[in-house]
Amino acid sequence: MPQIFSRKTNRLPALSLAGSVFGGVLAVFLVWYYFSPEFYEVGYAPEQPVPYSHRVHVGKLGLDCRYCHGGVEIADKAGIPSTQTCMNCHGQILTESPRLQAVRDSWATDQSIEWVKVHHLPDYAHFSHASHVNNGVGCETCHGRIDQMDVVRVVKPLSMGWCLECHRQPELYLRPQSEITTMGYQPPADYIERNLERIRKEGIRPPTNCSACHY
């Protein structure tokens, strides 16, 4: 009776063993990298209904973040400015610009501009802008160099691991209250000591338990 399988088949057990070890390691790596916001969130830069440039307004004109995002110091959400906020200036400046047509339409019709949300957190993670901004976390720390972006882009992963990096060692990331909205902030050489001093004095204790954010 001829054999059902050829001699080469004898390699199968060793190959399948090696394959499953390799496959297991590969699966962990794939999950580690591709199942993370580092991969699928960073770089997200949707087109907005109005070609608003943060580079021009913040970088060139020096507009304060809080002029438009007024809720940032008092509420969970920093807030998207109303059309009125735009019209405070653009009622007098560039009143004929075709790039601002959507803003003028909104102003005339009382219909909000539908800005596209860029920075997403999962709905099961609660985040408060106020408690971060009021305790030494700068805008730049999470949003990057907004002053250099024509179109706002996600630059940080905003994943849980990334949050925890700072929650575990806030002294590496905090900055003085006067520098919160500063873009391109250069910390002094002894910033860790200063931050530790401040953390001790103000009792800044970022929580790392589950229900700090998941409630």
């Binding site: 009776m1 059902i4 699966a27 962990v28 999950v31 580690w32 993370s36 992963p157 849980m160 691991g161």
Partner: protein, 487 residues
């Protein structure tokens, strides 16, 4: 052959050293091979197709219900505060419980040298694996975001998402999945010699593709002495590995309840009581399936009434243990002097869910007591009904534990009456569809009785058999003395 059985029964009555033969009808080695193998080789019977279409329809229902649930969220089930754990958890514990008999039969009875296990272990192990698959579906979908279920596994990731090792729900993940893997490996290792038998028969029949597929799974088994030595060693080791799992899995499942502080759940009796209940329901399911399968496939001589009687005795023992635990819970509630604990149990027996409690009590404690009567223990229609009653009772046990303990919250304003939705009901029915689909596929494609092992308990397997019976050639007429133990 007929007179051989008669002689034997006469012998068994006079000599109490001898057990009744495990295999009846004077079957030879070849008869066993034929009897079992033919069902995987011949054309698919019409009755199988009929049963399979019903089961398959059930499975499609399950898939539809799960898709509906994933799309709409857990709200489509009846779970709501205060009963946050509704039918999904009831069904999970029910199915895991059923999955206990298989490995008990294959591992613990193997270690205790209970040779009667050989006729039923293959089907019981298959049942175990399919029941655990059904069980795993429920917690998997109950998490709500089923796409994030891999978070329950400790896979390194950039999110620093790591399982909470302090939670019994996580212990469950490990307990049930390791039970599943060990059961699957155990089942498969036991299958190898039989798959090789089927492969060789396929070669003789000239069915090349069939021989290739079976040959792939038979791992080149050729029945060599060395193969058998390795096989026996592996089987023994796996039996040793699986034995603690039989006890640990349902203990861990019971921790899901017992580690919490809910009155009615927070009791130390839960682990042994759950394990007894699991074995109870598992054996009931084996009896249900075997009563049908032995009839449908003409295996009455291999899976005999003696086998069924032994399983009924186990049901009687474990059922009484479970009933004892029910009563102990009441005693402890009274003895503890904790009013909340007392309320929880009085409410169980007399509150809005008293109907479920008394279904549970009568089906699990009272009904198995009929098995004290030998006539009923050996009565096939009766045991068939009894096994189904027991499984209904065991489903209600989990219902009572889960629902009645939760529906009276610590805050009386939250008190409510749990009502399942149509999705709950169809999901449960669908899980039976999945179970029977898998079981029917098993009956069709896999030898449903462990042929090699059954041959090992035939009288001819005794090395001294031929010295005592003639010239060393097997003749069915010689098979008159069937020795229960090999000496």
């Amino acid at each position: 052959m007929a007179h051989a059985t008669k002689d034997l029964s006469a012998l068994a009555r006079t000599d109490y050293e001898l057990e009744p033969p495990l295999v009846q009808g004077g079957l030879t080695f070849h008869d066993i091979t034929e009897l079992v193998s033919q069902h995987t080789e011949k054309k698919t019977p019409k009755a199988w197709w009929a049963a399979f279409s019903v089961a398959f329809l059930g499975m499609l229902t399950l898939i539809a219900m799960l898709a509906y649930q994933v799309w709409n969220g857990v709200g489509v089930w009846g779970n709501n505060i205060p009963v946050g754990w509704g039918w999904p958890i009831v069904n999970f514990v029910f199915w895991v419980g059923i999955g206990h008999a298989g490995t008990l039969i294959s591992a613990i009875l193997f270690l205790f040298r209970q040779r009667w296990r050989t006729s039923i272990n293959r089907a019981a192990e298959a049942m175990t694996i399919f029941a655990v698959i059904c069980a795993l579906i429920f917690p998997t979908f109950h998490v709500g975001r089923v796409w994030a279920i891999y978070w329950t596994l400790p896979i390194p990731n950039q999110m620093e998402m790591w399982p909470q090792f302090k939670s019994p729900l996580l212990w469950d993940v490990f307990a049930v999945s390791s039970y599943f893997i060990v059961s699957l490996v155990f089942w498969y290792v036991g299958l190898i010699p039989d798959l090789a038998t089927l492969r060789d028969r396929a070669v003789l029949m000239g069915r090349r593709l069939r021989a290739k597929i079976l040959g792939f799974f038979a791992l080149g088994w050729c029945g060599a002495n060395r193969h058998w030595r390795n096989y026996e060693k592996v089987y023994m080791l796996l039996a040793g590995l699986a034995t603690p799992l039989v006890l640990s899995v349902h203990s861990v499942v019971s921790f899901d309840f017992a580690v919490s502080i809910i009155p009615g759940w927070h009791t130390t009796i839960f682990p042994p009581y759950f394990v007894a209940g699991a074995i109870f329901s598992g054996f009931a399911m084996v009896v249900t399936l075997m009563v049908i399968a032995r009839k449908a496939y003409g295996l009455e001589n291999v899976i005999t009434v003696d086998h069924l009687e032994k399983m009924n005795i186990i049901m009687l023992v474990t059922g009484t243990m479970v009933g004892f635990a029910y009563i102990t819970e009441f005693f402890i509630a009274w003895y503890s002097g904790v009013p909340y604990e007392q309320y929880a149990f009085i409410n169980r027996a007399t509150g809005p869910y008293a109907w479920a409690y008394w279904i549970m009590m009568s089906a699990n404690l009272i009904f198995p007591q009929f098995f004290w009567i030998k006539k009923l223990r050996r009565n096939i229609p009766f045991m068939f009904v009894a096994s189904i009653v027991v499984n209904i009772g065991m489903w209600f046990e989990r219902f009572v534990i889960t629902i009645t303990s939760l529906h009276r919250d610590f805050l009386p304003s939250s008190w409510d009456y749990f009502v399942p939705t149509w999705v709950d009901v169809l999901t449960l029915i669908g899980s039976f569809g999945l179970f029977f689909t898998l079981f029917l596929l098993f009956l069709r494609f896999v030898p449903m009785v462990a042929m090699a092992e059954v041959k090992g308990v035939l009288p001819e397997a005794d090395p001294h058999f031929y010295e005592m019976h003639g010239d060393g050639h097997s003749r069915p007429a010689d098979v008159q003395v069937n020795r229960g133990r090999s000496s």
